[in-house]
Structures are given as structure tokens and as C-alpha cells.
Amino acid sequence: MKVTPPETDDELFVRLRRGEESAFVALYRRRQGAIYRFVLHMSRSPEVAEDVTQEVFVALLRDACGYDPDRGTLSGYLFGIARKLLLRQIERGRVDVPLESDSEDAAIPELAVAGNALEDLTHREGIEALRRAIGTLPRRYREVVVLCDLEEVDYADAAGVLGCPIGTVRSRLHRARALLLDKLLNHERHPRPPVSALNPIRCLT
């Protein structure tokens, strides 16, 4: 039995341009998750992630969407739009996370796990610690971790999305991983007390 390979993004894009709804739906279903998650990681806001994802695909529907297959992949193009829209949201103040923080030694926000977070990365608590540690990375490092490690975007595409050379992507990723290790090991050395050990003075909720 002959198995037909799935259509490439570019083939779907061509059909989309011809007005075929099935191509748009297929392309959307294939790419929306990664775009949504990228924005969610960067903004930590489901509302912003939803808005940006919507705007990305609305931009794709426009006649003059500007996608050029010779300049990169469609996936990279979508991530690039998402990143620009996200930066716009930050400028408007819709994203209150300090994305532009250059501090590389921000502490991990309160974790549900105490102790060896790195050793615990096979458990849910350890994974949650890692997720939070990623959230504390400065934006330029968080971007590469989210793109390359979590969404498995290749370095060339990531370079296109971020508008920098591939070498910069590699060095940022290297630095980002080192920072993550440092944060997780530091957490291991200076664990926060479990929430149950704290004596609440006043309930603010």
C-alpha cells in the first residue's frame, strides 16, 4: 500500500492562497500549538497567547502577508510574526512580565519541590521547577530555549525568527542551559522551605 506523505507547509500555503479552506485548516492545526505555546512561555498569559496566535493566522490570511519561501520556512515566518506581535504587546503594557530583564541570576519563583531539583527532573515537581526556571531567564535566553529546546525549531529557523546569526543562537542556547543548570543547582543548595512550613501572618486573598 502506498502511503502519501503529508503535504508540506509550502504546499498547503499555495492551496490556501487559492482559497482552499481545507489547506488553511490543516496549516492552522499543524502550527497553532507551537505558536500558542511560544507566546504563552514568553508572556505567561493565556489571553495574550490566544490574541497573538489569532493575529498571526489573520496575518497569514492577508494577501500581502509577506511570506517568501526563499527566505525561510513558513514555521519560522509564523514564529517571527508571533515574536513581533508579542513585543508590541509588551510595549503596550499588556504583558507585565519583566521580559527585558537582563538579570541572569533571578531566583526561581516559589517551587512546590524542595531539595534536588535537577535530580528530580524526571518527576513532575522537578519538571515544574524547570519550567519556572525557564520563566526566570532573560528574554534573549528564554526565546532560544523555548524555540530550540521546547519547540524543536532548528537553529537556522531560530536565527531567522530572532534576526541574528546562527552562531548567536548557539551561544545563547549554551548560555541559557548553563543558567538553567545554575538555577536548578542553586535551588538544590538553597531550597526554599515548603509552603506548609510557613506561618501565614495574614491572608491576602
Partner: protein, 206 residues
């Protein structure tokens, strides 16, 4: 491979043979490699965990609606408007028909004005002399050898000054010593511009 090269290549290459060999010889680098491997495993687990996170379904519904709306408009705009060329052809056919009718009508050249009359009067056929009589009630005398007029012919009457000798040609008597004098006359011009009849103004018919 030394420790510096080990640390530089670990992020890129992962656990390859060279790295493993060096880590077997260097305890510190072995620990770094182990930490790195755990981190990468954790990132893969996190990626797999997060892969379930997707945009809400309502987003797809809204976008598909937007897609349909946009392409409906585009199709409407791009649809050939059959009535535009049809209307153009109909208009062109009307113009051609009118032009053909005009060209196929009997030729009716505009009257040529002979001489340069001081005053030109236009007159309908009602004012023209009876073409079937040599002299009408209005004093017009049909010129000899002139073609007769059809009742539907449009004529022009022009007032001109002519030598009194012209009265001779119309069959009127003229005193010989006054032959060279000029007299006023109304001349009937047919549709071809040729004179058909003449009436001498203020001259008694003899």
C-alpha cells in the same frame, strides 16, 4: 580534548565519543556531562508535557469564519461581471445601427450658397414656389432648365443682387438702357444648392 573544549562542545554535540572519553578521564567534566544530560532529558519531558497546550478551539472557528468571509468577498470581487461586456456590446451595436441608418439614407447635401448675399433667409417648403407652376402666387418664377422640387425637399431662399439682365432670362421685359443695373431678388435654392426659382424684389412683373 581538554576541559575547555569539552565545555564548549557539550551544548552542541551532546554525548559523543570524544566527550565520553574526556568525561571518563575528568571527574568534573563527567559531572557536567551528567547534569547536562539530565537537563536535556528534563527539557524533553517538559516539551512533551507542554505539547498538549494548544490554542482554544474557538480560535480555529473564528479564523475559519474569517477565512470564509475573506474568500467570499474575494470571489465576489473576482467574479466576471457578465453584464458589463454584454452592455458594452449592446451599446456598440446601437451606435453602429444608428450610423448605418444615417449612412444609408438618401444623400441630402447641405445647400451651397451662391454668391455672398447680405442677408440669408431660411424658408420651409411652404414658403417655396409651387414647383409645378411656372410662376407661383408668391411671385417666384421657375428658372428655365432647373430641376423640379419635391414637396418634401428642403429649400433655402436667399436674397441676392443680380444684374437686371437676369430678368430677361426669367422671361421678363427689361429696358435696354437699364440692363446693367443691379436689382434685388430672392432665389430659391434646392437641396442640391442649385437655383430653382427667382423673385425680383420691388420690381413690377410684366
Amino acid at each position: 580534548m581538554n576541559c575547555q573544549e569539552f565545555r564548549e562542545s557539550i551544548a552542541e554535540a551532546g554525548a559523543n565519543a570524544d566527550l565520553l572519553q574526556h568525561s571518563g578521564e575528568c571527574e568534573a567534566c563527567a559531572a557536567v556531562l551528567a547534569d547536562h544530560a539530565r537537563l536535556c532529558a528534563g527539557l524533553r519531558t517538559l516539551a512533551a508535557d507542554l505539547r498538549r497546550a494548544e490554542a482554544p478551539k474557538r480560535l480555529e472557528l473564528g479564523l475559519v469564519a474569517a477565512f470564509r468571509s475573506q474568500h467570499r468577498l474575494a470571489r465576489r470581487a473576482g467574479r466576471p461581471q457578465w453584464w458589463i461586456p454584454a452592455l458594452s456590446w449592446a451599446a456598440a451595436a446601437c451606435v453602429l445601427t444608428v450610423a448605418a441608418l444615417f449612412l444609408l439614407r438618401p444623400h441630402q447635401p447641405l445647400p451651397a450658397h451662391r454668391g455672398t448675399p447680405r442677408a440669408v433667409e431660411s424658408a420651409s417648403i411652404a414658403d417655396a414656389p409651387d414647383p409645378y407652376t411656372a410662376e407661383g402666387d408668391d411671385g417666384f418664377i421657375a428658372l428655365p432648365n432647373a430641376r423640379g422640387l419635391d414637396p418634401n425637399d428642403e429649400v433655402n431662399i436667399v436674397r441676392v443682387e443680380v444684374p437686371r439682365s437676369a430678368m430677361l432670362e426669367a422671361g421678363l421685359a427689361v429696358s435696354e438702357d437699364r440692363v446693367s443695373e443691379l436689382v434685388e431678388a430672392d432665389v430659391v435654392l434646392g437641396p442640391d444648392g442649385l437655383a430653382r426659382a427667382i423673385r425680383f424684389v420691388d420690381e413690377p412683373m410684366m
